[in-house]
């Protein structure tokens, strides 16, 4: 039985959090650091996430909670109480959270309310759009954390501008570590390439509401992919499929020789496709980061009007092409004709972010100064 008290406590809720925390868990294990792994997911995808944890060959969570909540306040409130219960039992040295969901905010808040120090992985991201709930969560978690692990210099500057009280460390993004660690697993477990009828292809993902809910934009996409200078592989999000049907574009797209539509794919299948494609065309944020990992290294065309990942663009991995058919086609053409000019290294780090995080944690004295040590608060009933 591993020691529980005074361990690092890792709390995850969603699949992206599991992916990005996986390298941290492995680094703690490698350095034989005591840790407690908590899975606190929403009831509707709890079982899938649990299965996902198995697939990534991560240790089983020490605590699991299925949170049934239909509103943000209820969700935050419930997780606060759950995490407090765990923290009282475990007496963590540091609570580690990743990302910007309501669950992350609730977990971090519960910890800090017990005077337990919080470490935020992927700190300092800002869209500067306060209508997005994630933007609130990010800001609040950054303002209550003691350790802020930022993926890039830009993120560090965001935090400095806000004068956060915690310490800022630029570690790189653990998503790069994750791609490196998960690619061999993915290649072993996925057989997606057997199903793809093209040898060379562009991989497309488009599911953001602002794109697929706009019929003009959706039409641009369908026409651009149909006329693309290279075959297109396009795993469809159920939402996108629904919109395509509503707009009567489904038939046209599914009958196009040049386009291979796929159902939504798992993480491993997607990693393998990213590795084997010629270029990635996407409106997702996370994919822009993953594409820069050494085991993928692919050019990305961002089909959006703006991106909160300026580093990928500056480094030359990504190009912001917008949503016009002509621009998408021209950019694809250019990318195909270009000699490979992608930088050797990722702007999101060299895949050692998790190791750095664990080193930093081990080197610091992770207890609040007396007389407010966590022991005071945690020992109270």
């Amino acid at each position: 039985m591993k020691p529980i008290n005074n361990s690092y406590t890792i709390i995850v809720g969603t699949r992206p959090e599991i992916i990005k925390m996986a390298p941290v868990i492995r680094a703690l294990k490698e350095q034989s650091q005591p840790y407690v792994f908590v899975h606190c997911g929403q009831h509707y995808d709890y079982n899938m996430s649990q299965q996902f944890i198995d697939e990534l060959e991560l240790p089983k969570p020490d605590y699991g909670f299925k949170v049934k909540a239909y509103s943000p306040g209820l969700q935050t409130g419930r997780i606060l109480t759950i995490v407090e219960r765990v923290a009282k039992k475990v007496k963590p040295r540091v609570v580690l959270v990743e990302g910007d969901t309501n669950g992350v905010l609730a977990s971090a808040l519960a910890a800090v309310k017990l005077n337990v120090l919080v470490g935020h992985v992927e700190a300092g991201l800002r869209s500067f759009d306060l209508r997005m709930p994630e933007e609130h969560n990010r800001r609040l978690v950054d303002h209550l954390s003691k350790y802020l692990f930022t993926p890039t210099e830009i993120a560090r500057k965001n935090l400095e501008r806000e004068n956060v009280w915690g310490n800022i460390y630029v570690t790189g993004n653990t998503v790069i570590d994750a791609v490196i660690q998960h690619m061999p697993l993915a290649e072993r477990k996925s057989s997606i390439m057997d199903r793809i009828r093209f040898r060379r292809f562009a991989l497309v993902t488009a599911h953001r509401a602002e794109n697929v809910d706009d019929s003009a934009v959706l039409k641009n996409f369908v026409e651009a992919f149909a006329e693309a200078p290279i075959p297109v592989v396009y795993p469809l999000h159920p939402r996108t499929k629904k919109r395509l049907r509503q707009q009567k574009m489904w038939k046209k797209l599914s009958k196009t020789e040049n386009v291979h539509l796929l159902p939504p794919l798992g993480y491993f299948d997607f990693l393998v496709l990213m590795k084997n494609c010629e270029m990635i065309i996407t409106d997702s944020g996370g994919i822009q980061e993953e594409a820069t990992a050494p085991s993928i290294r692919k050019p990305v065309l961002v089909i959006r009007l703006s991106t909160e990942r300026p580093e990928a663009v500056e480094a030359g991995f990504a190009k912001l092409v917008g949503v016009e058919k002509h621009n998408i086609l021209t950019a694809m053409e250019q990318t195909l004709n270009e000699e490979e000019r992608l930088p050797k290294t990722s702007p999101y780090g060299n895949g050692t972010a998790a190791e750095k995080i664990v080193d930093i944690l081990n080197q610091s004295n992770s207890v609040f100064r007396k007389p407010y040590t966590w022991r005071n608060l945690l020992d109270q009933t």
Binding site: G73, G77, K113, L140, H143
Partner: protein
């Protein structure tokens, strides 16, 4: 225009009183007063409502006391429901308690604009739960009413947009001015049997002071060493428990210069503070009240969010060290004409019109 005002603890009710009275003057404002029940004693809070002439709250959520996370979580759940049912246009949260944060979070997550009263106060001591509440509330608010220029500056330094910050003055000062005439009629001094200037007031409630027996003992020992003044100590029920737990009850009662009294009302407290030689406290609000009433203050904390008072020399941070407390008290006693000096200080907390300014802004944005 529906304005939901969320209160829970006693200082928040004082801060809100001028806003409530001002809102009652505007017919276009529908005030929805929500009491979270964070206050441990509902009866006490009721008396307080009466004293401040406040309307009954629309709802009392009765959350009660518990650990910080439990309390915040439960308040969020109940406040979210209340907000969904009453559909306010703005949710206003004063101060820095768990009720403040829970209200701000519940509203922000439902995309209801949050207005924070007393925004931007910072002690930069993250071990204080209030500091966390303040910071997080400020960062999910879309209207921030700063009581002083310094508070506004603190907010700017955290990257909060200038357009969202309004310098309003402090509603606690409004409340104090409105209550001075009734406070003067209080006969609390006669009841206790003390005269102006022969006593000092002591209040203590912070866990870091009362939950550690050693610290508590130090503070009480310092009090017994101050031979020339009587110590009037209104005891919070929680503090009383701790006093007993630290085995200090007997000792304290034996020292006949220390007068333990039941918690007092707002007017009585103002009267006591005004006529005291000095004030010893670990509360935030009393530091300001002592400042406005020109009574020297010794704060039994390492840091304060009201640096305005310490920078002007009206307030001294003594922490909980016996020697420092005794020295600070001696210095005050030896300073000649200290009251006159304090009277001459400028007041950075506004002119007593904060509530008016706040509601004018709310109506403008409404």
């Amino acid at each position: 225009m529906k304005l939901m005002l969320i209160v829970g603890a006693r200082p928040q009710i004082i801060k809100s009183a001028p806003i409530i009275h001002e809102a009652q003057k505007h017919r276009e404002i529908e005030l929805q007063l929500v009491h979270t029940g964070q206050h441990y004693d509902f009866e006490m809070s009721k008396i307080f409502f009466h004293e401040l002439d406040l309307p009954d709250p629309l709802v009392n959520l009765g959350v009660g006391s518990g650990s910080h996370a439990w309390q915040t979580g439960n308040m969020m759940i109940k406040l979210e429901k209340t907000i969904l049912e009453n559909k306010p246009d703005v949710v206003m949260v004063p101060g820095d308690t768990n009720s403040t944060l829970a209200g701000a979070l519940a509203a922000a997550k439902l995309h209801v604009p949050v207005a924070h009263v007393e925004a931007g106060a910072r002690s930069y001591d993250m071990r204080m739960p209030e500091e966390i509440n303040r910071r997080l509330t400020d960062h999910c608010s879309s209207l921030l009413f700063a009581p002083t220029k310094n508070c506004a500056k603190n907010l700017r330094q955290e990257g909060i947009r200038k357009q969202l910050i309004k310098l309003s003055g402090d509603t606690m000062y409004d409340a104090l001015l409105q209550h001075m005439s009734t406070a003067e009629k209080s006969n609390i001094l006669t009841e206790i049997g003390i005269k102006t200037d022969e006593y000092a007031v002591l209040t203590l409630h912070r866990p870091e002071n009362v939950d550690t027996p050693k610290t508590f003992e130090n503070i009480m020992k310092a009090m017994t060493m101050l031979k020339e003044v009587i110590i009037v100590f209104p005891v919070h029920p929680r503090t009383k428990q701790r006093l007993a737990a630290a085995k200090l009850m007997k000792q304290t009662q034996a020292a006949n210069r220390i007068k333990l009294i039941e918690p007092v009302g707002y007017d009585e407290m103002l009267q006591l503070t005004q006529h005291a030689r000095m004030v010893f406290t670990d509360s935030g609000g009393l530091q300001k009240e002592a400042f406005w009433l020109q009574t020297p203050c010794i704060t039994l904390r390492d840091k304060t969010e009201w640096v305005e008072t310490t920078e002007l020399g009206a307030n001294v941070l003594a922490g909980s060290k016996l020697q420092r407390i005794v020295e600070a008290a001696r210095e005050i006693k030896e300073t000649k004409g200290i009251k006159v000096k304090l009277e001459r200080l400028r007041n950075p907390f506004g002119e007593g019109q904060a509530a008016q300014k706040i509601l004018a802004q709310i109506l403008k944005r409404g």
